[in-house]
Symmetry: C2
């Protein structure tokens, strides 16, 4: 009997997943893009000040990893970038992807344009939705974070990081697009390198930022569909570098 109950639960889950997939497909149907349902990563081990020490040196133009040890540190070592896990792992850039896949079970998707469908947006902050994205010969990490920058006022922050160096990151442009209810919001920027801290990118606000009310306007039944596109950088003729 218990077996049948479990089977029935699993079938219900599958139907729910299929329904979410279908909804996301409807949202971005014109593009025929790959839709990925991303469940939240929620951990009580959240350490918001993890990067505080590293931020000062990053602001001075010195690239340093987020974790600082008493011993001399190899600047090419990357700390685990899975933001809410407080994972003590460190490794070279080349082994970040296998670590994220194997240890943290983060999915990796292929294709220049995908739809990231974050579920359960109502969950309390801090919560992260994370996925890896492989295209144009590189791997990128998309992080959507719900965080209370100001107590009692959760906001959503979305950014794309290149699993590579800042010089490599400068060759790309990423676009995040929300599109629902006759409203459209687009954010385009150069991805940051994973050698910089995702925490500092978010605390600087240098990413797509959504208030709860805007997130609700764009979400459907507790899920937020974000269209993602990555291209190689072109010089924006209409843009001034001042």
């Amino acid at each position: 009997m218990l077996f049948f109950t479990q089977c029935f639960g699993a079938v219900l889950d599958l139907i729910h997943l299929r329904f979410q997939h279908y909804k996301a497909k409807r949202v971005f149907s014109a593009a025929g893009q790959l839709v990925c349902v991303v469940n939240p990563t929620h951990s009580l081990k959240y350490a918001p000040t993890r990067c505080a020490a590293a931020q000062a040196s990053t602001e001075q133009g010195i690239l340093s990893p987020c974790h600082h040890h008493e011993a001399a540190h190899d600047p090419q070592l990357v700390p685990c970038t899975c933001p809410l896990f407080s994972c003590p792992w460190e490794g070279h850039l080349e082994v970040v992807v296998p670590h994220l896949r194997q240890t943290h079970r983060i999915n990796i998707l292929q294709g220049a344009e995908i739809v990231f469908l974050a579920t359960d947006m109502h969950l309390p902050a801090p919560t992260d939705w994370i996925i890896m994205h492989s295209c144009l010969g590189h791997q990128f990490l998309l992080v959507l974070r719900k965080q209370e920058k100001y107590e009692g006022h959760p906001q959503f922050f979305a950014t794309m990081m290149l699993i590579g160096t800042p010089t490599q990151a400068d060759n790309f442009t990423y676009r995040l697009e929300l599109n629902r209810n006759q409203r459209r919001l687009k954010w385009e920027a150069t991805p940051r390198s994973i050698l910089e801290c995702v925490d500092s990118v978010i605390s600087d606000g240098d990413c797509l930022v959504l208030n709860t009310s805007l997130a609700q306007l764009f979400s459907d039944n507790g899920s937020l569909a974000i269209g993602i596109a990555i291209t190689t950088s072109k010089v924006h003729s209409s843009e001034a570098e001042m």
Copy 2:
């Protein structure tokens, strides 16, 4: 001597204005758009709860003006929409434009695409930057507001209102675009009618919202250039109306 000092001050002001105009032109040079320098409208008479009574009825689908009087009210009368003036004026839709121009000295610009250059972004909240925009046979009101929705955390809200009815507003789409430092942020939506309260649009967060940090990333020397485009509505094929 005083005369020459005043003349010198006026010349300096003109040079400053010309410089800002030049900078805005550089930002959006490719489009060859009209650039309008908009100085802030700052008033101590701010009455944030002005629309509170009207909001409840608007949410129930009943369109009502923001000012309520004890006597029976003509629903076609529009209160003065200049948000920070607490102006007691009321009038029919046809005379809103002359009132805003004559009483509040709000400029009106022609053209489907313009650049709105808001100066002095550092001024404390509440502050508004307002302009009228005439195109496609209608007049629109662009309001950029700096407001502390959460105490101590000012945000910028930008929205476009049609000086017309909600049915007329449904025929248009407006786009606001920020573009600087290899970052681009676009907001597209249907304009709201001026018969709805600008205060309630902003409190609902149904507009372009910028945190102070994002506003700083997009502004240059205390000025924020917003590209504005208005088009007649097309059905977004990639959009789902759920």
